[in-house]
């Protein structure tokens, strides 16, 4: 992989060469990810019906072709990109399809896997479009205010539609339900990154110092209060605690990274605590979630049978160290939302702590790769965007995984790539596409420097 244009300077101990592009590694890992998914698909069929499911070859071919197209797009348009991002996306998406297919076998009247497959195809297509069309991430910076306007519209749209399962976060068009809030995440991350990259010096201007906390000045307190109000508004209008938490967490993280002011963190935590306490008191929906978290088995003791969280804990416990094996668990006992919010319980029961840890570590790697791109990039917008997108994944995984395993109060949210939900899959592919673009820029600039 040496390059003819490389100049070797005498004082360097090793010859400066062009960085390896590692596309071969990516392809190998994609093949592994596709094979793992097909293996899981077959394992489900063998466990449930004793035969390899009829669509195994088609499923494998479909997933393989999609992954291959995505790989080709990356190879052509983002050759320096991080080779781990795409395989992780493919593996998580493939595993999610396996888990949903597995749960479909328990609910013959309600098949979600075919729809999810359509959405996954859309997601990968969108990924390819972003990788091909977006040649430079800095272009996005120009559209910061378009982004925030679009995000606000998307967030307020569902208010006009009837509530589904107590939350106003869906809109239904032509039989598909779409969760516009999912798309808003990426748009807001772009906006936050652009806004903070432009204003971080002003925001970093220190106000009064209280004990060891450097408080921000009142003049620049406006934006954070606005975002806080937006989060609370989302919460109250849409009864969606998860999204509200995510927006606020994302903003505070980016604000801290941009300004380095621990004071922001303190203010953020204070506001979050205030909001949480107020909402926990006033909103019965949220209040009961907190009570469930504190006493997951209270409904059993009261003679009403186990609630969803208790069933989820039972499922994780039943998995133990190595799991029951795909298709052999009983996570369907969770009932409603077993394929979406509680999808992780199926992974926990059937793949065990070993499989669950592997999934957590896959997410961890995805986030780490995002942060790594953020560290390698030079421009503040790119850095903040990479950190923001990675943080969305991290926060989302923590909030929902912590919720279903009883670590924190449960809030409805989709497990990235795994959970049933079209908007979520498309959004996550968009995040991976942007991270691919950012990591490509990060390494390309280094390579160009070396080459020069």
């Amino acid at each position: 992989m040496t390059n003819a244009g490389t100049t070797v300077t005498a004082d360097l101990p090793t010859p400066a060469v062009r960085l390896p592009r590692r596309r071969g590694i990516e392809l190998t890992l994609i093949v592994v990810a596709v094979l793992l998914s097909v293996y899981g698909y077959c394992a489900v069929g063998l466990a449930k019906n004793g035969t390899v499911p009829p669509g195994a070859a088609g499923y494998g071919a479909g997933l393989g072709v999609l992954a291959l197209l995505a790989h080709i797009a990356v190879r052509l348009r983002a050759p320096y990109a991080d080779p781990l991002l795409l395989p992780i996306g493919v593996l998580l998406n493939g595993l999610g399809l396996v888990l949903i297919y597995r749960l479909d076998l328990e609910t013959p009247g309600d098949r979600a896997a075919p729809t999810q497959l359509v959405w996954s195809t859309l997601g990968v297509t969108f990924f390819i479009v972003v990788v091909v069309a977006l040649r430079d991430h800095r272009v996005l910076q120009r559209y910061a205010y378009v982004c925030v306007a679009a995000a606000l519209v998307l967030l307020t749209l569902p208010v006009l539609f009837p509530a589904v399962n107590g939350a106003r976060i869906w809109i239904r068009i032509a039989g598909f339900s779409i969760q516009p809030g999912e798309f808003a995440k990426v748009l807001l991350a772009v906006f936050f990154a652009a806004y903070l990259a432009a204003n971080r010096n002003a925001l970093a201007y220190a106000g009064r110092r209280v004990w060891r906390l450097q408080l921000p000045t009142g003049r620049v307190l406006g934006p954070i209060v606005a975002i806080w109000l937006l989060s609370v508004g989302v919460l109250i209008l849409e009864r969606d605690l998860g999204t509200s938490l995510l927006f606020f967490g994302l903003f505070v993280t980016l604000l801290y990274v941009a300004t380095g002011r621990t004071g922001w963190f303190a203010v953020g935590l204070l506001l979050a605590a205030l909001g949480a306490v107020a909402v926990g008191r006033l909103e019965p929906h949220v209040h009961s979630r907190v009570l469930d978290w504190l006493h997951p088995f209270a409904s059993i003791d009261a003679g009403h049978g186990p609630n969803q969280l208790a069933q989820s804990l039972f499922a994780f416990a039943a998995g133990g160290m190595l799991g029951t094996g795909l298709g052999l668990g009983h996570s369907i006992l969770i009932g409603f939302a077993a394929k979406s919010d509680f999808i992780l319980a199926t992974a926990g029961e059937e793949l065990g702590l070993a499989g669950l840890s592997a999934i957590f570590i896959l997410y961890g790697l995805l986030v780490e790769r995002g942060y790594r791109a953020g560290l390698a990039l030079r421009d503040p917008f790119g850095r903040l965007l990479a950190v923001g997108l990675a943080s969305i994944v991290a926060l989302q995984v923590f909030v929902i995984a912590g919720g279903v395993t009883g670590l924190i109060p449960l809030t409805g949210m989709a497990m990235p790539f795994l959970a049933q939900g079209g908007s979520s899959v498309v959004t996550n592919w968009a995040i991976v596409a942007l991270l691919i673009r950012l990591s490509d820029s990060a390494r390309r600039q280094y390579d160009i420097e070396v080459a020069a």
Binding site: A258, G260, L353, F360, R378, P380, L395
Partner: protein, 489 residues
């Protein structure tokens, strides 16, 4: 481009690492450390689902299964089925997804459901594979012909039959009527609920196993015990010597007198008193033997033993050990506080037939894996000497006389030696209820070296008048049919 931002990104990354660690630690807590607690939570249906996820093992009678399993296609997949349910219900009990298990289904549940660790091909095998053993089979000691004969003999009447093999204690027949079909209780749906409610509301109590879970006043059949005690204690030494007993007999310390149904009981020797079931003679004999020896003999036969398991528990038969003489007189003719299960009275007859030795009765010959390999066998049971062997010889003689020329001629089987004793037990307020008709007996075929069967029959709603004869009239033919079935097979 500032270094401070790099530092902040690293700190934010460190924060994300903390979140990841928290998730991993919490997952380990739930899946490893708390896992057992959660698995055993009563609201966790996984153990129940696993239990019904495979066909339940079979209960075998005469080499053929009397039970089966049906794939219901529901969450609790396999449901119990019964072939000839009412006939074997007093043995199998039921195995319901909603109402639990009873009798053999209960006491052999580990084998039948596959949870018994003995079913594993190798020790610790299942801990490694997390696999479940297929349900094993339970081979019973029942003789299907005897069971059928007893069930047909009782017909529509309320009653019970217990038959055992005297030399081993193997239970050959265990019947209770009216019976019920345990099959409809197997599932968990509305129909199971209805069956359960109907069976529980039935005034005839079809789910009561009268052969082992109901005690009756044994009446005159208890005279076998009293006679054995008198012979053992030396109160009577010659079966044909006069017993110096009046008729009517005034209960000691009271002015109540006891009479007989028939004549010829004054000073009757033990042989004829037993043959014609003289209350006066046996009441006095009991008093002469005394509380200590009477209860000693009764307990040797198995009375007052609260821990009989065949393998399901048997209601204890009772002989009161704190009696005054009048109570002892009544107790010695099977009244007052004396109560016995049909199985206990079969044991009494079996002890006489088996040279005075009582073998603990049992119902399970052996248990096997699905493939047929033996998991456990009944093995030899403890023996108890209820009376001297010499006394047993005399008792056999007395019981044979009852069948050849006394009240039990209905039980005679041509070509076989049969010994028996009839009984009628008064009950109800002021003895107003229809008396229970009893018959206990044993039989030895022509070519058998020892008696092959001992039977006790009780019929609750005997049709005859209040005479001792009803035991011979209602119960003896049933006993005869059961004995014939055993001798013929």
């Amino acid at each position: 481009m500032t270094d401070s931002m790099t530092r902040h990104i690293r700190l934010a990354a460190a924060f994300c690492t903390l979140l990841l660690l928290a998730l991993l630690v919490n997952a380990t807590r739930v899946q490893v450390f708390q896992s057992r607690t959660y698995d055993d939570n009563i609201a966790n249906r996984r153990q129940t689902i696993a239990r019904y996820d495979q066909p339940r093992g079979a209960i075998l009678v005469g080499g053929k299964p009397v039970t089966g399993s049906r794939d219901s296609g529901e969450q609790l997949r396999y449901e119990r089925t019964y072939r000839n349910g009412p006939l074997y219900a007093p043995v199998t009990g039921f195995a319901s997804q909603e109402y639990g298990t009873t009798l053999l289904e209960h006491s052999e549940d580990g084998i039948l459901s596959g949870t018994d660790s003995m079913l594993a091909p190798f020790p610790l095998w299942n801990d490694l594979t997390r696999a479940q053993n297929p349900g094993g089979n339970v081979v019973t000691t029942l003789n299907p012909a005897a069971q059928q004969a007893a069930y047909a003999g009782l017909g529509t009447r309320t009653g019970a039959v217990a038959a055992i093999e005297p030399s081993t204690g193997r239970i050959l027949a265990l019947v209770s009527t009216p019976s019920y079909d345990p099959g409809p209780l197997s599932g968990n749906g509305r129909s199971a609920n209805r069956s359960w409610a109907r069976l529980n509301a039935d005034p005839d109590k079809p789910m009561l196993n009268r052969a082992v879970r109901q005690t009756y006043p044994p009446g005159s059949t208890f005279k076998v015990v009293t006679a054995a005690a008198a012979l053992d204690a030396g109160v009577v030494t010659d079966l044909d010597a006069a017993t110096n007993s009046p008729d009517p007999y005034t209960l000691p310390g009271t002015s109540t007198t006891l009479t007989n149904e028939g004549d010829g009981c004054v000073d009757a020797p033990l042989r004829s008193a037993f043959e014609w079931s003289c209350n006066t003679v046996f009441a006095k004999l009991g008093v002469d033997v005394g509380v200590r020896d009477m209860s000693g003999t009764a307990e040797a036969f198995g009375f007052n033993d609260a821990y009989v398991k065949i393998p399901f528990s048997v209601s204890p038969s009772t002989f009161d050990t704190t009696l005054d003489k009048a109570q002892l007189a009544l107790s010695s003719i099977g009244q007052y506080n004396t109560r016995a299960t049909p199985l206990q009275m079969a044991m009494v007859a079996a002890a006489v037939a088996n040279g005075g030795q009582v073998r603990e009765p049992y119902l399970v010959e052996r248990t096997t894996r699905r493939g047929g390999e033996t998991v456990s066998t009944a093995g030899s049971r403890p023996v108890r000497q209820a009376m001297h062997p010499a006394t047993a010889v005399q008792m056999k003689e007395l019981m044979e006389d009852v069948v050849t020329e006394g009240t039990g001629t209905n039980a005679a089987i041509p070509g076989a030696t049969v010994g028996g004793k009839t009984g009628t037990a008064q009950h109800g307020i002021g003895n107003s209820g229809t008396p229970y008709a009893w018959f206990v007996s044993w039989a030895q075929g022509e070519r058998d070296i020892e008696p092959k069967v001992a039977v006790a029959v009780v019929v609750e709603d005997a049709s005859a008048d209040r005479s001792d004869i009803s035991g011979g009239g209602d119960a003896a033919p049933i006993a005869k049919a059961v004995m014939e079935a055993v001798l013929g097979s």
